[in-house]
Amino acid sequence: MSVEHESFKPTIVAFCCNWCSYAGADLAGSGRMQYPANVKIIKVPCSCRVNPTFVLRAFQRGADGVIMCGCHPGDCHYSTGNYYTRRRMTMLFDFLDFLGIERGRTRVEWVSAAEGARFASVMNDFVKNVTELGPNRKITDLRTKPEHKEGE
């Protein structure tokens, strides 16, 4: 188990807004700052564009963790988008936790276009946390009958 655990590389989906966080990711790249390659970035116009079903889709397709990055509150390119994101994702992530998808697998971070280093450290930290949690439960299993354990 432990061997398996060490070699476990989680699949992370990062939704990054075009104006701040994606530019932050770019800066991290051009500054040659290291962050794990298993972070798959999806660029969105605004963090507010992320429909909660996108997050569910990511989990359905096997993500072990989902992170949402947007401009700092107050700095949204569209003025107020990330304020909605903030409420929506707080609700969604706590709800997922309620269903058994631990809150360590979901996160919202505000990363500006100037914060390349912060982007890299946020990703490193998130990947580390998710790796510790191990492979995700399959959210799609919620709709399948539990298997009976051996001996039952």
């Binding site: 569910l56 359905q60 707080t90 609700m91 706590d94 936790d97 058994g100 809150r103 919620l142 539990p146």
Partner: protein, 327 residues
């Protein structure tokens, strides 16, 4: 309750005869004595069939979406919790308030036929409501229950006996208005470990047969075209074969009604598989109350629901990971 039903019946006939309304929506006897179904009456003679008793649980608000768009005014009998749904529908511009004459009708709690059966009343043919007791007439004689013991889940967690919107009231025996604690069930799950929570929900959600009853009954699920509709099937409200929708149905639906769900409890009541859907909705309600201030959907018809609103100093999403317990 008998008395309330009689008054309601008389009043409905009066209003029809006076021409204040041209239709009445209420409940009539269903196939059995314990499945009162919503019905629209158009004549004073037809109101003979009107029934209001412990099984008049169906929330009539959703029917008013269509009914209020028709010619003329309709009289609607709404129980206290149904008025919340109606208010919420006004807020969402789904009903025409001017076309509905609302009589807020007293409610002493509605009974659950399954509980009555599970408590040993087999072969129930009819049920009589005696105020504090409920008498089940069965093939093998009568069985009497204390009403409080056979209430529907939604009535055990009653939000209060106040009608939030009405044109007139029929309340014969004013009831205790103390709202009950609705969140005990949610808290019990929150206190589990993530594995246990997942196992709990897997046990529950895997029972779902996707009959769509929970969506069809829900007053918050009033979109003209629902994401779960499959227009190509040629059958209205047929489930879509898409695996994503199929697998995440309950989560998507719960999120769609978050902030708009009035906790009327209809979804759990109609679910043929006994899935405690109210726990999903109440989790959202509990969280919104905790993070964005007390909010009761449908309490009024103006305030913005929490998820289409924000404040500059809202809690950061990290509050949920800082809440303690497991990580």
């Amino acid at each position: 309750m008998q008395k309330v039903a009689e008054i309601a019946q008389k009043r409905a006939i009066q209003l029809l005869n006076q021409g204040v309304v041209n239709r009445v929506i209420g409940w009539k006897k269903g196939e059995f004595g314990y499945d009162e179904t919503p019905a629209v009456f158009t004549t004073a003679a037809g109101i003979e069939d009107f029934r209001y008793d412990v099984f008049s649980a169906p929330n009539l608000s959703k029917y008013l979406i269509d009914e209020s768009k028709k010619e003329g005014k309709i009289l609607a009998f709404l129980k206290p919790c149904d008025t919340y749904s109606f208010n919420q529908l006004i807020k969402e511009h789904r009903v025409n308030r001017d076309n509905v004459y609302i009589i807020g009708i007293e409610c002493g709690g509605m009974a659950d036929i399954n509980t009555i059966r599970n408590r040993g009343a087999a072969g129930v043919t009819d049920v009589a409501d005696n105020g504090q007791t409920v008498i089940a007439h069965t093939l093998y004689g009568d069985v009497t229950f204390d009403k409080n013991e056979v209430l529907l889940e939604k009535c055990q967690a009653c939000k209060g006996k106040k009608h939030v919107i009405f044109d007139e009231l029929i309340v014969v025996n004013p009831q205790d208005d103390e709202p009950k604690n609705r969140f005990a069930g949610v808290e019990a799950i929150e206190n589990m470990t993530p594995e246990e929570r997942f196992a709990f929900w897997r046990e529950q959600l895997s029972k779902c047969i996707r009959c769509n009853a929970c969506r069809n009954v829900c007053p918050a699920c009033s979109c003209l075209q629902c994401v779960f509709d499959n227009p190509r099937s040629g059958v209205a409200s047929k489930a879509s074969p898409d695996t994503f929708e199929e697998q995440l149905y309950h989560i998507i639906r719960a999120f769609h009604v978050a902030g708009r769900c009035t906790d009327c409890g209809e979804c759990s009541r109609v679910c043929p598989q006994d899935i405690p859907l109210h726990l999903l909705n109440r989790k959202f309600i509990k969280d919104m109350n905790a993070f964005y201030g007390e909010y009761k959907a449908g309490e009024d018809s103006e305030t913005r629901p929490p998820l289409v609103n924000f404040s500059k100093d809202d809690a950061e999403p990290s509050v949920i990971s800082d809440k303690g317990g497991d990580k």
